[in-house]
Amino acid sequence: MDLTYTEEEQEFRARLRAWLATTLPELPPRPSPDDWPGRRAHDLGWQRRLYEAGYAGLHWPLDAGGRGATPTQHLIFLEETERAGAPYVGANFVGLLHAGPTIAAEGTAGQRARWLPPVLRGEEVWCQGFSEPDAGSDLASLRTRAERDGDAYVVTGSKIWTSHAEVADWCELLVRTDARAPKHRGISWLAMPMDAPGVTVRPLRTLAGSTEFAQMFLDEVRVPVSHRVGAENDGWRVTMVTLSFERGTAFVGEVVACRRTLGELARAARANGRWDDPVLRRRLGRLWGEFGALWRLTQWNVSESQRSGGIPGTGGSVFKLAYSHARQELYDTAAEVLGARSLGLDEEWTLDRLSSLSYTIAAGTSQIQRNIVAERILGLPKGR
């Protein structure tokens, strides 16, 4: 039981820190949130710099072009980049964390060669076409269908909650290839080119007023059969590999950011006098303790997956449950610090408060997570 980094890890951190210190000031200014082409260019540019410096695909296996770093090194990377205020993974998210690892694990040599290098080098953007309007928590009930026509699938349906759809080159798409099979058994995983005829993207406005997500309408889109990763109708298993990657370290940067936010809240409360209110002060103190523990839980989960050879453990659901509720509590507390000012949309934490509302819903609602914890970890029986 140790929290002292090895010399090697300390060196890794020092090198990374030095590189960030020289590199970040050279970056162009961030584009506005509505400037999708600008955001794509910015995020890809950052990825190219990472690639050149040897940090691209840190956690990917060596034979997929990655660096084969330990989970701890990946954790250090995520911690340091967030601390230094480096760009978020942004448009590279799906490529680096979903589609890429899936292709690395399940793709053919040709598929790996075609799709992985452009992701690492910051040349291509991926988006995700999993959820559908009628298949949210029950993802496996998806209805977008793909019918075989010669050497292509003809895909028709609609997808929702797709980030970066407007600027993506590829979409990792789940489609139903066998309507008569049990729902988990008739799904396939396809790489769909976003410029294929029949793909329509419509921005989806969230309650925060932003258009971070889109809806995708697919009307007889032809996707070559060679773009299928994994066997036909084996897409559910293929996808679960991807999703468990997401659970592992997806929130590391955010926990670091939440801890920084708490410091800012303390300063703001001192400045406006509300720090003198013990109710608020103790609430901030409690959150400081909770987010400290969440940081340690991240380290715990990482060291566990390190032992098991990189396979993410079941700790992800436990972490997500604790974290998503703590994050909502954090931004409710931010509103307490601000008082009536929290009603202003341009106040520092208001948009974050709005977006925090999705944390108990997205990527598996808290209700679904509790089912997972109860059934898969605790072994409680499924209901009738």
Partner: protein, 303 residues
């Protein structure tokens, strides 16, 4: 490749397994219930056996007859004691090892004025009080809500315990974590066995989600305790105590709810976990103190 590893080492796992075996053998459920029915005295034989196993001398240097281990090992061991509801001033005696003669070996029972309002546990059994020279002071007996932890009230102000407070809080948090993990197990077992409306109650989402919430509380607290044991940082210890108190009390409450009427009976062990958790929450560091300490640490970090 070598890497930082927060997980327990092989040695630590072996230590934990050994203590678990010892406690299950010497302090299984029958002993617990017999203790409960027979009055709340400390079994000196068990105490000595704990001493022989190094429970109290764990962190003393080997040169001084101790085991030479550290806080992380102590946290693991105390977690096991918390699981089985082992009674007695375990933390105080552990803290007294090396200072009070016989404490390290389990020959002496040492209590501490670690509660507010002049309350002290197990005074009748105590050979010494931490930080007080000589024999223990007299106290007025107070009927205790925890039937296995007798209480007395002593007059006057106690000794300065600041040198012991953080370690005391941490080891108490470890006891709480053990209790919190145990009540998850009790709830899950009962939910899997008890049938209502034609299925195990654990198949109902409401019960399932109570259990899931319990595990989340316990796992977060456990991680906080282990981290605080490794770093020995004051704020991390405060967080560990705060979260472990919440996990032990909250889990005992939810465990009782899962047990329904059966949990409300004296025969169930659930109430023993709850009452002990309430007691420990008042020891060494209360929630209000921990929150204020964490707030001060936050402000310090925000400068």
């Amino acid at each position: 490749m070598r890497a930082v590893d927060f997980q327990p080492t092989e040695d630590q796992r072996a230590l934990r397994a050994g203590v678990r075996d010892l406690l299950e053998g010497r302090y299984g459920r029958e002993v617990l219930r017999a203790d409960l029915d027979g009055g709340a005295g400390i079994d000196r034989a068990v105490w000595r056996e704990l001493g022989r196993a190094g429970f109290f001398a764990l962190r003393l240097a080997e040169a001084g007859g101790g085991v030479g281990l550290g806080l992380p090992e102590a946290a693991l061991v105390f977690e096991e004691a918390g699981r089985v509801l082992l009674p007695g001033p375990l933390v105080a005696t552990h803290l007294a090892a090396g200072t009070v003669p016989g404490a390290a070996e389990g020959e002496a029972v040492v209590t501490a004025l670690d509660l507010g309002d002049g309350l002290v546990t197990h005074l009748d059994d105590a050979d010494a009080v931490l930080g007080l020279p000589g024999t223990p002071p007299r106290g007025e007996p107070v009927r205790s809500a925890d039937p296995m932890t007798p209480l007395h009230r002593v007059a006057g102000c106690g000794p300065d315990l600041s040198a012991y407070r953080e370690t005391g809080a941490l080891l108490t948090a470890a006891l709480q974590t053990g209790s919190a993990l145990r009540t998850v197990e009790l709830a899950v077992r009962y939910a899997g066995e008890r049938e209502q409306f034609g299925q195990p109650v654990g198949a109902f989402q409401a019960v399932k989600h109570l259990c899931a919430g319990m595990l989340v509380r316990a796992e977060v607290a456990r991680t906080a305790v282990y981290a605080a044991a490794v770093t020995a940082d004051g704020a991390e210890i405060a967080a560990a105590k705060l979260l472990a108190d919440g996990a032990a009390v909250g889990n005992a409450r939810d465990c009782l709810q899962v047990h329904g009427g059966m949990g409300f009976t004296w025969e169930s062990d659930v109430h023993l976990h709850l009452k002990r958790a309430w007691l420990r929450a008042e020891q060494w560091r209360t929630a209000a103190e921990a929150e204020e300490l964490l707030a001060a640490d936050l402000m310090g970090s925000a400068r």
